[in-house]
């Protein structure tokens, strides 16, 4: 039991090694089986660990693999740990990861890079597991960088398309900006606490829990770590890479850019919850960043026409909600939403992938429509995913979103109102997507229509399993008013204990909670009917690409011109600056010095060569003169 821990990340690493070394020598089916099998083994082990933790037969523990390095008094171990928080993430990563691997065997079947794709996916799972299992900040950072690398590789997977490569670069660079913040945070933690280990009596969190509230160093650490989370979890101002990351294959979008990697930031904040609880100033920043991101992304999602872009903005928006929850100290609610979101967003992405697969690569919802009879399984599961994300009970999204909003209401009514608006917008754009894709008349080409087909079982089976999870996933955390046990809260309490001692969660009365729920349901229902009347009854279509849009619509359609803003105000000046450096410093200064020394040597040679007369007697004379000169120098001076 004790040694199980290392095996969990080891299996995907082995899978990556085998696939990476064998290249195209393995048949596609073998490669798919190895990749999926390795993640399945990790999943089984995670379930074993999880059941041990739940039943109490296994304590939270850590396993030291090796001394990583030692410098002075500082020892860093490469060690893994499992506790309630990481075990939940393990289940999500390996479970959803396994389903997406299975799905990919169908989705990527005809792709040339099939085996390469699976090796990258396995590598990603390995790094993600390292991220959540590391028992100190440095191991987490290794995983953090590793998933960034895999994200880059997989976004640019179809590397022959330059714009996909640009998207991959953008993701990498944006993540790097965040990573710098994270790294500075790690340095600050080390300076302040002298260790990077989470647990133990000398661990960071134990030491931090004795600090005063709003201690400047703690606030600085919290903000630096949050900057890291902004990059990885796509929050303002570093969110623009995530929608572009949709250039990768759809399973990648589902696994990395919806279910797992982008939640690494939430994991990190939840892990360091005591630091944030002690830094209310940083919490305010987290909450406002989260809610503004959520609102901005949700409004952009209203006007997008690319099926994956809508889901991408929806992901950004949901991540914003999770940060809102973290910002008001509702760490459990945020983790809860991570889990349910992983289920339904992976489901939606995979459903979108199935639609794209059927449409021969078409992603524009203006060219879809009426797919319901052709793709019955995809339609059913997509509907379930939509209901779950919209927050209609008793599907998973309702419970987690309700918990977040209730917690936010207890803290700040203004934030709650914004969260409510986000939730309403979510309902609207998701049903808009659903109606435009599956209802009405088919708007694609004749050729596409003949090709329409339901996806193979390897793709629909994960959809079905995920939709079951999207229905049932919410039952791990019932709202208090139902008088049913909130299992998740209970389960995570060891991790959140310190925070709850320092900052009691704000209580709201049952009546308030009921009414909040009622308000949420009414809003959702209203938005559903608006979407229904607009896109189902009246069959309105989004404007074609060349149409002239109204100002507000145009601004939203172009994503508030944020990309253009970055382009104009950051990229261009930076590019101009580097051009100046190149033209002035490099060409004039550095090249000038180099050329000058060369010219000096040339000129000197030109003068001195006249000493080379070719006359032997002259040389001899000079030699004797020299010898005499040396003699005089050494004897007379």
């Amino acid at each position: 039991m004790e040694n199980l821990l290392i095996l969990i990340p080891l299996f995907p690493l082995l899978g990556f090694t085998i696939l990476g070394l064998s290249g195209k020598n393995l048949s596609k089916s073998t490669a798919g089986a190895i990749a999926s099998g390795s993640v399945l083994l990790s999943f089984i082990l995670s379930v074993v660990l999880f059941s041990g933790l739940v039943s109490g037969s296994l304590p939270a523990y850590q396993q030291k693999l090796l001394d990583w390095f030692a410098a002075g008094k500082w020892d860093v171990d490469l060690s893994l740990m499992v506790d309630p928080l990481s075990s939940l993430f393990l289940l999500v990563i390996t479970g959803v990861g396994f389903l997406i691997h299975v799905y990919s065997t169908g989705y990527m079947h005809d792709d040339d890079g099939h085996n390469k794709f699976f090796s990258y996916l396995n590598l990603f799972v390995f790094f993600m597991l390292m991220l959540v299992m590391g028992s100190n900040f440095l191991v987490m950072f290794v995983g953090w960088e590793g998933v960034g690398l895999c994200s880059y590789l997989l976004i640019g997977f179809w590397f022959k398309n330059p714009s996909y490569n640009a998207a991959a670069r953008k993701a990498f660079v944006m993540n790097r900006i965040g990573d710098l913040g994270f790294l500075i945070g790690i340095f600050l933690i080390f300076i302040q606490f002298g260790t990077l280990e989470y647990g133990g009596t000398q661990g960071v969190f134990e030491q931090a829990s004795h600090a005063a509230s709003n201690d400047p160093v703690i606030v600085a650490i919290a903000i630096c770590l949050f900057i890291g989370a902004m990059g990885k979890s796509a929050q303002i101002p570093l969110y623009t890479w995530l929608p572009d990351a949709m250039a990768g294959p759809t399973p990648v979008s589902a696994l990395i850019h919806a279910a797992t990697m982008v939640t690494a930031g939430i994991y990190m904040v939840a892990r360091a919850n005591i630091i944030y609880t002690l830094a209310p100033d940083a919490q305010v920043l987290v909450a406002y960043t989260g809610v503004i991101t959520a609102l901005l992304a949700a409004t952009i999602g209203l006007a997008q026409n690319d099926i994956k872009k809508v889901l991408a903005y929806s992901t950004v928006s949901q991540l914003g909600l999770m940060f809102l929850a973290l910002g008001v100290g509702a760490y459990t609610a945020a983790v809860f939403h991570v889990i349910t979101h992983a289920f339904f967003k992976a489901l939606l992405f995979l459903g979108a992938g199935s639609v794209i697969h059927a449409m021969s690569g078409e992603q524009d919802i203006r060219k879809m429509g009426g797919l319901k009879p052709h793709l019955p399984k995809t339609w059913m599961t997509f509907l379930i995913g939509t209901i779950a994300i919209a927050g209609i009970p008793p599907f998973a999204g309702f419970f987690s979103k309700d918990e977040i909003l209730a917690n936010v209401y207890a803290r700040d009514k203004g934030l709650w109102l914004t969260g409510m608006i986000v939730s309403a917008l979510t309902t609207f754009y998701m049903f808009r997507l659903l109606f435009l894709t599956f209802f009405g008349n088919f708007r694609g080409t004749h050729h596409q229509k003949e090709h329409l087909h339901e996806s193979p079982a390897s793709m629909t089976l994960p959809l079905v399993i995920l939709s079951v999870l999207s229905v049932l996933g919410g039952f791990i955390g019932f709202p208090e008013v139902f008088h049913l046990p909130h299992w998740l809260h209970h389960y995570l309490s060891p991790v959140m204990e310190a925070s709850e001692i320092r900052a009691l969660p704000a209580e709201i009365t049952h009546l308030t909670e009921w009414s909040l729920m009622g308000v949420a349901l009414i809003v959702i229902a209203i938005m559903f009917f608006i979407a229904r009347s607009k896109y189902l009854s009246r069959e309105e279509l989004p404007e074609p690409e060349e149409a002239k849009l109204k100002t507000l619509h145009r601004v939203v359609y172009h994503k508030y011109y944020v990309d253009e803003f970055y382009e104009g105000f950051i990229l261009k000046p930076l590019g101009w600056f580097s051009k100046q450096l190149k033209n002035i410093v490099e060409k004039e200064l550095i090249d000038g010095v180099v050329n000058l020394s060369g010219q000096a040597a040339m000129w000197g040679g030109k003068v001195l060569r006249y000493a080379q007369t070719g006359m032997v007697s002259f040389y001899l004379f000079m030699m004797v003169l020299g010898a005499v000169g040396l003699w005089i120098y050494f004897n007379l001076f």
Binding site: Q612, V616, L620, V624
Partner: protein, 108 residues
């Protein structure tokens, strides 16, 4: 014994003077003469001036190691003469002259 004694009767300063004069003649010969053979001979003269000084000091200080040194120099000088003369022959074949001023193609 007689010979050594008679040598020792001559003061060391005379040997130094003689070898300095020989060396200077050699130097001037190398600098002023243009005939390569003469230059060559002058070089030999300088070498032998040095040899003379070495053996003189050897006798003066009763230390035979300088004489061993001189034998080495003479052996090396013999080899050097062989190479020098063969170079000289090649120069003569190419320029039909042994004037050192003829050899001034190697310049800027």
């Amino acid at each position: 014994m007689d010979a050594i004694n008679s040598i020792n009767q001559v003061p060391i300063s005379s040997y130094l003077l003689l070898s300095s004069v020989l060396f200077s003649i050699g130097v001037l010969g190398v600098i002023y003469r243009r005939n390569i053979i003469v230059m060559f001979m002058s070089i030999e003269l300088m070498l032998n001036a040095v040899n003379l000084m070495l053996v003189a000091f050897s006798a003066y200080r009763n230390d035979p190691s300088a004489q061993v040194f001189v034998f080495f120099i003479m052996a090396v000088a013999a080899a050097e003469v062989a190479i020098g003369l063969s170079i000289l022959v090649m120069i003569y074949r190419n320029t039909r002259s042994i004037d050192s001023d003829e050899l001034k193609q190697l310049k800027w």
